[in-house]
């Protein structure tokens, strides 16, 4: 069933930002619902997913230490691990809720769209609450009238992973 578009008449064309927001909200929903294979399908085959360390947010994974630097082979392995009962930090899965705001389309380059947004990801498990706070850079690409992610960078604002112990979920 097609989703109803609220707040506009039927003829209104969504703005680029609205389209991008819908896409980011959909990505967040897939992760909160642990629909990880569907989430993986949002990426291009040559995509990259990077999470820098908290003390070097501008870190370059080629020569500096980051938390995560996944090409699609490793990102698929990450998803497989999260689906396995041997991925102990997330077995059983934590409960998560992702809040995404301050979405800004920063730049357009041909079919490429550079988007930044703020996030708050709550993770609940084993009696602990661990909030991840930071901002995303999504580099999106229009392909076959669909948006795809070819680069996602998750920059954390916390000084350490004090409450978290690890980056065991996908941020």
């Amino acid at each position: 069933m097609p989703e109803a578009r609220l707040g506009g008449n039927d003829n209104s064309v969504p703005t680029l930002r609205e389209e991008v927001e819908d896409f980011l909200y959909q990505e967040a929903a897939l992760l909160d619902e642990w629909r990880l294979d569907e989430w993986l399908a949002l990426f291009t085959v040559d995509a990259r997913y990077v999470v820098p360390t908290t003390d070097l947010p501008e870190g370059d994974p080629k020569k500096e230490l980051v938390f995560i630097d996944d090409d699609m082979v490793r990102l698929r392995a990450r998803v497989e691990r999260l689906k396995s009962r041997h991925g102990h930090r997330e077995y059983p899965w934590s409960r998560t809720r992702r809040f995404i705001t301050n979405v800004r389309v920063k730049r357009l380059e041909g079919a490429n769209i550079f988007v930044t947004s703020s996030f708050l990801v709550y993770r609940f498990r084993m009696g602990d609450t661990s909030p991840y706070v930071g901002w995303y850079e999504h580099r999106l690409k229009q392909a076959d009238r669909e948006l795809k992610i070819y680069h996602k960078r998750t920059v954390l604002d916390m000084e350490t992973l004090r409450e978290h112990g690890a980056v065991s979920i996908i941020l």
Binding site: T54, L56, K62, L65, F67, I68, E80, L161, G165
Partner: protein, 435 residues
């Protein structure tokens, strides 16, 4: 007052070694550890490459004390207690930077980057008993550097660092000698906490027994990249060793390859030549036998009480401090040869990220495992943790000899005995026969 005697059962006759779980849960024991372990030993602070240029500084806590280290304009690295000699405010209030002077923001006392007090506003306000030369920044009682690794001690009477390192020294040499132009700490660190007693991470970092069952998903990933699973399964064949003074090492074959210097399919064809060149250089400098030790064998080294150096595809340097009996703060860095080419550095970083980092495929499960132990202790009723594996035989890698070495030294310090023989009795007997 907690009764320390009897916290450890060390019974070689029946091959039994047990640790009372209050060692992991008691606030009194943590307080005593601060006095009897952390205030007595040499403690790792930093690697000298972290302050490469004159004026470079970084701050860091050691055993709960705020310190900072700075390379002075004279080129010398000094370590200071991070507190103004005036009224106590933190002097260094950024994690890192470069400066010629450090000024306390409270009353604007100013120190140069060698710790001397060079400016006091309205100094005429002080009488003749005030001697500016005595009011420079204070250092911990002892600071020493072993091949780039800088340690501090809050015990003025501690033995010299080289003596303290005992058999661990040779293993640090095996690591540092891999570099042609010296080692450097790669920018960026992993800072995370674990809701578990700090000693559980000592155990976990040296424990070969958990590797296969806990890290199944990691080995699935590695085998999917083309490493034979049979090689991985038989890789943990080397017995661990107690190195004296509580230091210990667990070694295994570097079947996944090593940038220095054993090629594997994980690294790609393009790195084959460079790795062969590095190996030839090592053979020329150190001979075949030592090269095999350096380049074919991977190791997890404990420098007592809480420095872990994991020398495998990457070189992880990991330190951790207790905050409460059930909480520790961990920091991990990556060490690499200064001259390392970008392709090999990338493979090194890849391994850190996939295994040793908190965003990797293995470390999160270690965090989960030791947090799970700590949570389990709350059940009480089971008083002892069991660490007897291999005590009755010539230990193999998956035994717990290295954990017993740590615990024997810990017990020695806690009872005020100082350094004790940390070897298993089987090993002691063999060496007495040999001599």
């Amino acid at each position: 007052m907690v009764e320390l005697k009897g916290l450890i059962i060390d019974n070689p006759k029946d091959g039994i070694f047990r640790v009372h779980r209050s060692a992991m849960t008691s606030p009194e024991i943590l307080q005593m550890e601060q006095e009897r372990v952390f205030n007595k030993c040499w403690l790792y602070l930093c690697h000298e490459s972290e302050v490469e240029n004159p004026g470079d500084y970084r701050r860091r806590n050691v055993a709960g004390r705020p310190l900072f280290f700075v390379r002075g304009s004279d080129g010398k690295v000094r370590v200071f207690l991070n507190t103004c000699t005036h009224r106590g405010a933190l002097i260094c209030r950024r994690d890192q930077g470069n400066t010629e002077v450090l000024q306390c923001f409270y009353h604007a006392w100013t120190f140069n980057n060698q710790g001397e007090l060079i400016g006091v506003p309205d100094e005429a306000g002080y009488g003749k008993g005030f001697n500016r030369a005595e009011m420079g920044l204070k250092s911990p009682p002892r600071v020493d550097n072993y091949r780039g690794f800088i340690f501090v001690s809050f015990n003025p009477d501690v033995e010299d660092l080289v003596t303290y390192l005992a058999g661990a020294r040779d293993y640090i040499d095996l690591i540092v000698d891999q570099a042609e132009e010296g080692m450097r700490m790669i920018p960026g660190s992993n800072r995370y906490s674990i809701k578990a007693n700090w000693k559980l991470l000592v155990e976990n970092s040296l424990d070969g027994y958990h590797v296969k069952p806990t890290h199944k998903t990691y080995f699935e990933y590695v085998t999917s990249l083309g490493i034979r699973s049979s090689a991985v399964q038989t890789a943990f064949g080397r017995p661990a060793r107690a190195l004296g003074n509580g230091h210990a090492v667990e070694e295994h074959d570097g079947v996944r390859g090593r940038p220095i210097a054993r090629w594997s399919p994980l690294f790609g064809e393009e790195t084959k030549e460079e790795i062969a060149r590095i190996r030839a250089r090592l053979v020329e400098k150190f001979g075949e036998q030592r090269t095999r030790l350096m380049a074919d064998v991977s190791r997890n080294l404990l420098v007592y009480p809480n420095l872990i150096i994991i020398d495998s595809i990457d070189i992880t340097v990991r330190i951790f401090w207790p905050i409460t009996p059930a909480l520790m703060e961990v920091t991990a860095w990556q060490l690499a040869p200064k001259e390392e080419k970008s392709e090999l550095l990338a493979r090194r970083l890849d391994n850190f990220l996939t295994f040793h980092g908190p965003g990797g495929f293995a470390t999160p499960d270690d965090v989960e495992a030791i947090e799970s132990c700590q949570a389990g202790y709350k059940a009480e009723g089971v008083e002892w943790s069991e660490l007897s594996r291999g005590m009755h035989r010539e230990a193999i890698a998956e035994d717990e000899l290295q954990l017993r070495a740590f615990w024997r030294q810990w017990y020695g310090y806690m009872l005020g005995l100082g350094q004790v023989d940390t070897r298993d009795p089987v090993v002691r007997e063999r060496s007495s026969v040999a001599s």
